[in-house]
Amino acid sequence: MITAKVGGDSGVLSYLGGIGEAVCRSGYRLSDIYEIRIRAGRGVVLETSRGRVLLDVTVRTEDVGECIKSFCDHSLHSFEKELREGFITLKGGHRAGFCGTAVIKNGKLGGVKDISSINIRMAREVIGAGESLRDTVLKEDFRGLLICGKPMSGKTTVLRDLCRIIGDRHKLVLIDGRGEIAAVYGGVPQNNVGAFTDILNGYDKVKGIEIATRTLSPEYIACDEITGFGDCEKLCLNSGVKMIFTLHSGSIEQAKNTETVKSGAISSIAFLGGRVGQVTERAVIE
């Protein structure tokens, strides 16, 4: 049975001050809201299960700034990396991405100023979303699984549930670079990612895989949104660690052409399409 739960209850609205109150007044439950879009000088838009809703509230530039400070617990210095990368993971695993003007330091992106819009993607823990892949990942000859799909297809949701399924039986290391899979808060994962799962929270994926294989003796490694690691897949492959990755991809064919699949570390590909988290296509890689 599939059950969905929005991470971190209604706490996400407490970051938003008056905007949060407007969202409350809209009458939509958090479980019905997929995204909250806040744009300076314009309104607030909710992407809901019933479609797009424009709230009757005008957002001032200061409101956007206050939201960002609130996301950072009024400690911008503690979130420099996140501010540079353009997103902050909130309590409950929700991800707030933002747009603004790039600040270039020494030719590189040093930060963002004049933030003009925020998009909060609500994290969902959907128990049972990974059940259709249970047999694939628990098979004896399983090497690796690549879960691919377009944005918003439910890759992270499926990965999170697979972590729960595998992590209740096997030693799994989850590299949660953006903190949205396990939603670790104060060292404790807020989502169920399995009893035997160790979490490398906020780690760079390549470094995380290296640390996991060398020091944590995992049977499985799970990681979200890979872009091709080269030596790391080989490291996992040579050490006999099974991998589960997600990848943005428009089709299963595109996924087959990635370095990760070519490295031989992947034995199955699952493509998500249709409704969120639904596996519509599979491929077995010999």
Binding site: K69, S70, D73, H74
Partner: protein
Amino acid sequence: MNLFYSAAAVLFCTASGFYFSKKLKEREERLCSVLMLVKELSVQIRYTNAKIGDMLKSASQNSAYGKLSFVTECALLNENEDFHRVWSEGVKKQPFLDQRDRELLLSLGEHLGETDSEGQLSFLEMTESMLSEQREEARENYGKKSGMYRSVGLLCGLAAGIIVL
């Protein structure tokens, strides 16, 4: 009866002298605590990048900052609540500090958590240097004036006592 009023006058004036002397001592002690707090914030920002709320929570458990009531008040706030308002109200209520000390503390509160770590460290360094000067001045004031306040208090008390008699 006159003896009683005379003793009361001696006691009142002496106590006033001791109070003014204690005020100088308390100011120096509080500035010492604030200076220590600023140093601790710098170290934590430099090495752990901790959030201001967490640092203030941890500081509130340290008895060295027991006299800084605004630290304890900020530590009582819930997560993602803005500490700036509580800090500023707490600093205004903080006893024994003079106007310049309060202004420095208010400015510290306004800037905490508002910039990247480089900005925070520069600001804390500047605050530390200004606080050091003010603490030094408070220490000199205490050294120079505390004895005088106590003596003047006692002498005034005795004079008042004699006049009353």
